[in-house]
Amino acid sequence: MPENYSPNNVDQLLDLIKSGLANESRFSISGQDTKAGFGYNSNAGINIRMSSIKGILEYDPAELVMQARAGTPLSDIEEVLSEHEQHLAFEPPNLGLLYNDNSTSGTIGGAFMANLSGPRRFLAGAARDHILGVKALSGRGEVYKSGGNVIKNVTGYDLSKLLTGSWGTLSIVTELSFKVLPAPATSNSIAISGLDVDAAMDLISRVAQSQLQISGLAFIPASTLENIDCDEFSLEQRDLCLMRLEGSALSISERSKALVKLIAGSGNVTNFENEASMSLWQLIRNPHTLLSAGESRCVLKMSIAPANAKSIIRQLSSFDDCHWYVDAAGAWLWISLSETNAVNHIKTLRQSLSNGLGSAILYKAPSHIKQDVGIFSEMSSGLTSLTHRIKDSFDPNHILNPDRLYLQQ
C-alpha cells in the first residue's frame, strides 16, 4: 500500500524527500490530486499532497503580482482576485472534471505545473506567460528559488517557466509568484449558426486578424452539440461559431457594432450578454461537457497553425464517434474519441503534424492506450536526450513523479 503524506510546511516536505532519497523511495506529487488522470501512472510508493502548504502570502492589486503557497486552492485565489476586480488572465480551466465529475479546480501550484490556459490563450497567453517566480525543492533535496516578485525580470535563467508545465517531474514547487490583471468589466458574445466548417474557419481567421480585440473565438459542430445536454444550446442543433468581446460596457457596445458589420451576412446571429456570455465560455473553457468525456473515452488536445484547422477537421469528420470543437481562434482542437478506434485516429492525427506543424497531447485515456501512443508525440532523438538531461539536472535519481510524462527506457 502506498503511504500518503500531506506535509504542513516546507521543512516537513524537505525531511520527507531526504528520507526518501536515503530509502530509495519514489514520490507521486500532487496538489489536490484532481488531475491524476493525466500522464502515465507514476507507480510511486509515496504520495505527497501539497494541499496543506497553502495561503496567499502577498497581494497588492496595484502591483499586479500575487504570491501564494503552492497548495492554495485555485478557487480561493480567484475569489480574492475578483474582490479586487482582477483575475488570472489565462483563464485556467477545471481539467479535473475530465477525470472526475465532482472535481474541484485544484491548487494554484497544480494550475501552473499543468500550464493551464483557456479560451483567451491567443490574446492573453497561458500560465507560463504569467509565472514570475518560484520557490522549489529539487529531487536532490535542495531548496532553491528562481525569478522574483516583480513583473519584469531577466536575472538568471527562467527556471520558473521550465517548471511550468513540467507536471511535478522536475521539482516540487512550494511557492509561486505570478502576474494578475484587471478583469474585464463585462462580456458579450455572439453565436453564429448556419455556417459550414470552411466558412466558419475563414470567418474566425478574419475576425482574429481584425482590430477588435476579440477574446474568444470558438467553433462547435452540430455533431458535438448533439451529444450534450445543456441549457445554453438547447435550441441549437447546428454548427455554431462563437465570438466573445470583453471590456467596459461602452467599448463592448462600439466593438459589437463593428463586429456585426465585419460578419455581415454570415448566418444567423444570437446574442449572449453578461452572465449568459460568461456561462457560455465556461463550457468552452472546461472541456468535459462538450467532449462528454465519460469513463473510457480518450481526450486529445491539438495545438496547431490555425490555417491547418480546416484540413484536420476534414480528417475528424471522417472518424466515427468523435466529438470535437475548435477554440483559441482556430489554434486548438479539443477532441474526444472512443476507446475502440482511438489508437489509429491519434496516430493519424499526429502524422499530420509530424513536420513541426503542431502538438497533440493526450489528456485522458485508458492506460493501455497511453502506453501505445504516448502522452506526447514522438520527439527527435536530440530533443529526447536533451529532455532526459534536463530531468536529470533537477532529479538525478528520478524520485519525483517518475514516468509521469516520459517512460524510462
Binding site: E3, N4, Y5, N8, D15, L16, S19, L21, A22, R49, S52, P61, A62, E63, R121, G125, E142, Y144, K145, S146, G148, V150, K152, V154, T155, G156, Y157, D158, L159, K161, L162, S166, L170, L181, A183, Q209, S210, Q211, L212, S248, L250, S251, E254, A305, A307, A331, G356, L357, S359, M379, S380, G382, L383, L386, R389, D392, S393, F394, P396, N397
Partner: protein, 495 residues
C-alpha cells in the same frame, strides 16, 4: 572584471583552427586580421573590450553545427553574437574563444498572415520584422529602443522588452518557435507556428539565456494587428511621489496602458534642451501614458486617466489628438539618453526592477547616494512595470570616476534587491552584473541554474565568464550526496 584564464593551448592552436574552419567556410567568413577583429572587441557595454581569437560568420545552420562541433573537439570557447548591442557585456569576446557572428543570418523566411506569425533567421533586426508585416497593418510587439539594429536572436537571448511590454509582454510572450544548435552540433527544433509545444518549456528557459545554452539560428514570432487607435497623455507632477501615485492609481483603476514611462527633473530638462518636445520645465516628474485599442475604448480611458492625474495633483496635462502630437510627446523620451549624453561626457545606464510601491523610497535613496558619490543621476524608466533605468553621469577622463560610477551602479542594484526587486529587468546579467548575482541568489539557487546549463553545454564552452560568478564543473555539480543507510520517515500528517 576578471574573466576566465585563457587556455594557452587553444591560443597556440589558432592556425590549426583557421585551417579546419577553412575546410567548410569561405575565407570571407573567417575574420583573422587584428584590424578587422577590432569591430567585435566589445558590445553595447563599451567599457569592456577584448579581441577574440577569431570571428566566424556562418551562412546556414549546417555551418553553425560544424563550427560548434569543431570547437567542441578543439576545446575552443564560443561567444555567440547578434548585433552586439547588449548593454551587459553578453557578447564580450574571450581571448581564447571565437565570436560566432549571426550577421549573415539576415533573411526573413516566411511571412504568414493567416497564422499570424513570421519566421526569420536569427540575425534579422527586430524592426525588419515589423517592416515586413506593416503594410497589412501588423507589427511585432516587443520594441526595444535599439530595434533598428538589434537582432531577433539577440532579443531571444536577452528576453528583451520595450516601452510596450506592460501590455504586450516581453520577447518570451511573443515567441512561438526556435531552431537552435547545441554545442555538440545537434540541431533541435522547438515549437513552430502554433502556441503550445509538447514537453518541457524549452522556449521558456532559452529565452533570456544570454548565449550560454545554445546558438539560435531561426526564430518564429507571433505578430499582432496594430491597434485602431493609439493616444498618449503627457502628465507633469510637482514631485516623483505624486507621479508614482498616479501610476499606481491608473493600474488600480483596472487600466493597463500600452506603456507608462516616467522621467525625473534632470532627464526632463536635458531632453527638452535637446529636442524641444515642449515638455513643461516647471515639473519635477513627467509621465507619458500611452493607451491603445479600439477607438471608443481609448477615448473613454483617456478621460479616466485625466481624472486620476488631476486627483494626483498633476500640474499639466497634454493629450495627443493625432499621431503627430503623440510622436512629439514621445520625442523627448526617445531622445533622453542621447540628450543626457550632451550634458555629461559619459553615462552609465543601469537596469533594475523594483516593486512599484517602493519607487519614491528608491528615488530618494538614489538622490542621497548621488550626493555621497558626487555623481549626478538621471532617471528615465518604464514606470508601469517598475523597471528603472538610472543613468549615472560621469567623466571617464577624471581619475577613478568610472570606478566610482560602477560602484554607484552596483549600490543602486543592491538597493533594488533590498526592497524586493531584482538585478535586471531587461538588459541581462552578462559580465556587468555577474558578480552581483550572489546579492540575489543563494549558492544553491545558482547551482541549480548551472545544472541546467550542463544539460545543454556540459563542457561550458558557450559564453563562459558570463552570468555566473563562479563556474563549477558539471561533474562536481551533478554529484549527489545521499545519506547512507535508511532513514525513518519523519512524523508528518498523513491523509
Amino acid at each position: 572584471m576578471k574573466m576566465p584564464t585563457p587556455d594557452l593551448s587553444v591560443l597556440a592552436s589558432r592556425d590549426e583552427l583557421i585551417h579546419e574552419l577553412g575546410q567548410f567556410l569561405g575565407s570571407e567568413q573567417i575574420v583573422i586580421e587584428r584590424s578587422a577583429l577590432r569591430a567585435y572587441e566589445s558590445d553595447g557595454l563599451t567599457a569592456y573590450q577584448q579581441l577574440p581569437l577569431l570571428v566566424v560568420l556562418p551562412e546556414n545552420t549546417t555551418q553553425v553545427s560544424k563550427i560548434l562541433k569543431l570547437c567542441s573537439k578543439m576545446k575552443v570557447n564560443v561567444v555567440p553574437r547578434g548585433a552586439g548591442t547588449s548593454l551587459s557585456g553578453g557578447a564580450l569576446p574571450l581571448e581564447d574563444g571565437i565570436v560566432l557572428s549571426m550577421g549573415k543570418f539576415n533573411r526573413i523566411l516566411d511571412v504568414d498572415f493567416s497564422n499570424r506569425c513570421v519566421v526569420a533567421q536569427s540575425g534579422v533586426t527586430n524592426l525588419d520584422i515589423t517592416n515586413a508585416v506593416k503594410d497589412k497593418g501588423f507589427y511585432y510587439a516587443p520594441d526595444p529602443s535599439s530595434q533598428i539594429v538589434c537582432s531577433i536572436g539577440g532579443n531571444v537571448n536577452e528576453n528583451s522588452g520595450g516601452v510596450h511590454c506592460l501590455k504586450y509582454g516581453l520577447t518570451s510572450n511573443n515567441l512561438l518557435g526556435l531552431e537552435v544548435v547545441l554545442m555538440n552540433g545537434e540541431i533541435i527544433r522547438l515549437g513552430g507556428k502554433y502556441m503550445d509545444a509538447e514537453g518541457y518549456d524549452l522556449l521558456g528557459v532559452l529565452t533570456g539565456s544570454e548565449g550560454l545554452l545554445c546558438v539560435v539560428t531561426e526564430v518564429t514570432v507571433r505578430i499582432l494587428q496594430s491597434p485602431e487607435s493609439v493616444r498618449a497623455l503627457l502628465l507633469g507632477f510637482p514631485d516623483n511621489e505624486k507621479a508614482g501615485q498616479c501610476v499606481a492609481e491608473i493600474i488600480a483603476a483596472g487600466i493597463i496602458p500600452a506603456g507608462i514611462e516616467m522621467m525625473d527633473e534632470l532627464a526632463i530638462k536635458a531632453a527638452e534642451d535637446f529636442c524641444h518636445a515642449g515638455y513643461p520645465l516647471d515639473c519635477a516628474a513627467l509621465l507619458i501614458v500611452e493607451l491603445d485599442g479600439p477607438a471608443a475604448e481609448v477615448e473613454e480611458l483617456i478621460e479616466t486617466v485625466r481624472a486620476i492625474a488631476n486627483n494626483c495633483h498633476s500640474q499639466s496635462i497634454r493629450v495627443s489628438e493625432n499621431d503627430e502630437e503623440r510622436i512629439r510627446i514621445w520625442a523627448g523620451r526617445k531622445a533622453a539618453f542621447p540628450a543626457l549624453g550632451t550634458i555629461s561626457p559619459d553615462y552609465y545606464c543601469m537596469d533594475g526592477t523594483i516593486p512599484r510601491k517602493q519607487l519614491s523610497y528608491v528615488l530618494t535613496k538614489m538622490t542621497e547616494m548621488s550626493r555621497q558619490y558626487g555623481l549626478r543621476v538621471a532617471n528615465v524608466f518604464h514606470a508601469g512595470d517598475g523597471n528603472l533605468h538610472p543613468l549615472i553621469l560621469f567623466d571617464a577622463n577624471i581619475d577613478e570616476e568610472m570606478e566610482k560610477a560602477e560602484q554607484f551602479g552596483a549600490d543602486i542594484l543592491k538597493l533594488c534587491v533590498e526592497v524586493g526587486g531584482v538585478l535586471s529587468g531587461e538588459h541581462g546579467i552578462g559580465v556587468e552584473k555577474r558578480d552581483l548575482m550572489p546579492e540575489y541568489f543563494s549558492e544553491q539557487d545558482l547551482q541549480q541554474q548551472q545544472r541546467v546549463k550542463c544539460a545543454f553545454d556540459p563542457e561550458s564552452r558557450l559564453n563562459p565568464g558570463k552570468m555566473f560568478p563562479v563556474l563549477h564543473r558539471c561533474a562536481e555539480l551533478g554529484r549527489l550526496h545521499v545519506h547512507k543507510g535508511k532513514l525513518p520517515f519523519p512524523d508528518i500528517p498523513r491523509f
